[in-house]
Symmetry: D2
Subunit: 363 residues, 4 copies
């Protein structure tokens, strides 16, 4: 695998769904930063399963134990490592899939990559559970960025056929960020949220699942960060966001919609606001030529519907090399999108923190 | 900047629109590979400006001179470097934009990153011209991959409001690939192509520009390549494709459309075909859990409309810190999408070549 | 810090002398490799403190707990993480040095790097204790290499003024390797070993310490591995060996002695032996132009004397910025060289394993 | 090959002895730095062949042409690429060695790595000529560092049996650095220099060659740079210095001599001088625990004698797989050490510049 991300802030994820523990090492954090552990736990809780009717019933405390890099709660300059024990594993649930890969899961491709030795239990290292250590790292980066005046928030833009109001402003306030961070179901339009929850409930009843889109904004990002052509802000953000299981598309600003527009409809005029250069609109999503423009970064990530559905599906038996029917046993989310919201924030925070750290080295 | 991409195949791009030359160094190519220079030139010609009415009239031969890494036409194991002289530069065209940044270009963000010292001539290193060395590297990788039975093709899926037929099969033949590579205007539906050309002509007349989408397929990719979570095939491909100027979105398989689907609609059943495991549909775009499944990779990249338009626009004077009107002088494409087609192929080829090389190291 | 080493085999070390745990993540190991845990424990025991009179009396079990990457004892392709709990820490021993840096330790430079937040307890991440996770990773690599027919051994070439016989052959047998691995005090000349032990005992009595040299050989390394100019075998090996605390010099083959020789005295004639190209002598230490020649690799690492001595020394008070006398309290080795022997083997194994893995990717 | 070095300052070398050109790309230089081209040429002249009786008679102007990254003479933030044309190549000189590898050259290991396709002409990419682009990059870094108050100088410490006086102070002045930089034969003790020149002349007459040691000092390096365990100053410096052909050993401070000392003899007491913490002696060579201490860095690199000698030697015919006698035709240095002096300075400058840039990112 390739479990490390970043250059000046370097995050290494390890663990599998049913290994003794999962965890993360973060190298490059500045010394002397005191982690707000309560704040971090609150952030992790947003990703944790079992919060509502719309998620799996597996419950794990997801309490990270920091085993290195801190003196008390403060970073000392050494790599910070946190581990989370896997306590609620029930590997027997996963016996069948070792032979009959679940459609659209990584079971088959993992088998082709690692052979019989792969960890088939619960998806191994391909499990959504691996977003927990990502969120530990991202949660710390969010705190670091906040100290520098950068804020990141995300909401559910779409689930199935229901769409929330998109972010449409460039003057996000602290209050907006806090509200989203505290929301049990983070949407901008409460009514859309209710309809999303209905859709999820309906999909669960049908033994089916739903995809969706998470939209993320980062404010306070200074103009000039990002290192094109290959470590521009878009490359960096996409590179880590595609590390979240189930993401199949990433776009910035107008994104795919820009393909259908004219230059005169997609360009953002420069204006002077309060003595500073800004753009009148933010169709570029805060990134021009891979470099931040000083406007809020606008990021969207598309999640496919959870491939684990209760409906019987066509698959194959790898041992017998013949077609087979599969009914996936066990618990699973009908829709991962609500829990993916903090994951996208975490991923964005890590990417921005890394870019910002590199930026400082050249100033 | 961050001008290198890849791990086992490492590509480093250098140059600016108006520097004496631009070029690329490719480290990690196997020794003993003979470059088909005529084939490479033909490939580069697909990206070259001035091929049709729909592109800028700037004409450069784009003849790469190989200054290292070859003995005759054959790689010797040392890094291969090719340079392309910039002969047709007219820097005087770009005097204004040093002070008044062009909306939605990198002029302003480059200024914020590099200050007065940035190369403002022709967009400097942010110029679309930098895709020429990318295509040199990609063109070589395409030849290498072809030797291993991998083929890559791309077409214009959309320009403005006109849409081509999408790739919809998993049995692409040599003929299909050759046809697309030879097409002057690569679309699957000739009629859509004609309407796209009309749309471009119309946009040019209006002094405006158009965005679009390039769709790319890679066949023959063995199952099991890609290194999740952070160097999975999606991360790798997105990471390099976002290095092509004007790309604002990247998706795989069903991509953003998957967000609106149910699992039962988006999952790909496994089947046995000719004694091998395949999927009945390819909504996953050949990538599951970041690892190739053996099905064709399906990649789409969204390009924003060329920000250079003839219509007068609002901007600011950086020296006077006041708002200013800007009419962009000089030549520019009303639509870069046709020329972007080989760029996406090149980027995909480099990413796949790198992943495949790493894969070999673990077998 | 920069706690990761390697490209295709990537080792990340974490922890401090007195953090809850120390550990290592190894990414890139092939799937399906069964770790010989008993063999690994035996290897780690060679590095462990408290084995003889010549070492510190601190005793830690150094039992690695594998928390990820294995199914049973077998690698599954996910990164392998092992942690070792710090149980025998007595931070109070280290109160003084937080203010008065120990001469020739990293106390002062760590303070200048990380400020007041550094972990001053027991040297923090600069502690020799951090070689334990290095040896976990190296011990696994040694097992992997042995499977491929590569063997690595090391001995104490020098301690203080006493010198062992150097390696002088190119036909090391299994027996030689096993004998060195099992020796309590690994030297080639038993008599030199006895005199070294006397010298250590004498230094301990004097409250002083001794430096030394470890010599390491690697056989079975195929010709052609190593990636010059910057990842040649010498760069790779030096790069990791300088990661072992107290190493101040690294040389290959004749090393520094070559500086005093003529070409006719230092060149190695090529000969044919058993149908294969070999060199008659091995003054080049198995590496030519950064690439392995097929002859055994010959590596020497110089260790400075343990800076912790009981003799009172001159230092400064950082808080008062005035000169101060320091008597270092607590336990410490008079000579780390015996325990450094497996560390050099481990470092060499990791470097060679990484180079070999990269090599495979280009074949 | 692995032709790139560094993280925040990234240097990529390309070319072979007889390719059309050789060159270097430097990514990460700050924008707005004006290269002193005359100063750079003067620096390159110190490495150039043909300066005295003690070097080869091959003469090349080694004039770098900057093809990217500059506007005028000033960096613009894009990667800086300079190429040097190979004009004085006489490949016919090297016909024999394609079949009969020169003892202790890279001919054989390159053949085993790259096979028949390797570039056998003049040693290909293994040629000492590749230090020219290294010196271009290093020469620029030296200028950058000088702006920050860091100076680097080196001298010939030893050639064959003759030894210069070592650096022994910590108060190097501008004058000392300038004197060494301007010296035709850089030694501290002029008399030793005369004896070295005699030794070289004598070796040439005998058709033989000589090795030696270059000693390098860097002053003004702030305390706290370097990223242990794997990117500490020693790792970084060794990693690049071993990229200079013929280097077989690298040591810092007392280096290998420390192995024979006691702690009380090798430790450096901390003292207060002019209100700052210093060490009374500098046996640690300015690096403690991989991190700079604020004292001058002291680096020594051992060079083996030039393997090209006129004396007939034993080798093998690769095509016939039988032993063969070889007389190496053509020109060659009897001693590369004088020309290696600026190469070591260049390598050190690049490593320090990279470490310093990374350091800034964490302040």
């Amino acid at each position: 695998m390739s479990s490390s991300y970043g250059k000046n802030i370097r995050v290494t994820i390890f663990g599998q769904s049913h290994s003794p523990a999962i965890g993360v090492t973060i190298d490059g954090l500045p010394a002397g930063f005191t982690i707000d552990q309560a704040g971090l736990r609150a952030f992790l809780l947003r990703r944790a399963p079992g919060r509502g009717e719309h998620t799996t019933s597996r419950r794990e405390p997801d309490e990270p134990e920091f085993i290195s890099g801190l003196v008390g709660e403060t970073t000392c300059g050494s790599p910070v490592t946190a581990i989370i024990r896997n306590t609620d594993a029930r590997p027997s649930d996963y016996d069948t899939i070792a032979d009959i890969p679940r459609p659209s899961h990584a079971d088959y491709s993992a088998y082709m990559k690692y052979g019989e030795s792969r960890d088939a239990r619960g998806g191994g290292a391909f499990s959504g559970r691996m977003t927990a250590p990502l969120c530990v790292a991202g949660g710390i980066c969010l705190q670091l960025l906040k100290n520098d005046g950068l804020r990141i928030a995300a909401h559910i833009l779409q689930i199935g056929g229901v769409r929330d109001r998109p972010f449409d402003r460039d003057d996000f306030s602290e209050k907006d960020f806090d509200a989203l961070a505290e929301a049990e179901f983070p949407v901008l339009d409460a009514d859309a949220g209710i309809r999303m929850l209905s859709a999820i409930k309906e999909a669960r009843r049908a033994g089916d699942s739903l995809g969706g889109i998470v939209e993320c904004v980062a404010t306070g990002v200074p103009a000039g960060i990002g290192d094109p052509p290959f470590d521009g802000m878009e490359n960096r953000l996409a590179s880590i966001i595609f590390g979240i299981p189930a993401v199949k598309g990433v776009e910035f600003g107008n994104g795919f919609a820009a393909a259908g527009l004219r230059g005169s409809e997609n360009n953002d005029a420069f204006v002077i606001r309060d003595g500073a250069v800004r753009t009148r609109t933010n169709r570029h999503g805060g990134i021009l030529g891979g470099v931040s423009s000083g406007m809020p970064l606008m990021i969207r990530a598309a999640f496919k519907p959870t491939p684990s559905i209760s409906i019987e599906q066509d698959s194959v038996s790898l041992s017998r090399m013949e077609e087979a029917r599969l009914t996936i046993p066990g618990r699973h989310d009908p829709c991962v999108v609500p829990r993916a919201v903090p994951c996208v924030e975490a991923a964005a925070a890590i990417a921005i923190c890394d870019a910002l750290t590199e930026h400082k080295s050249h100033v």
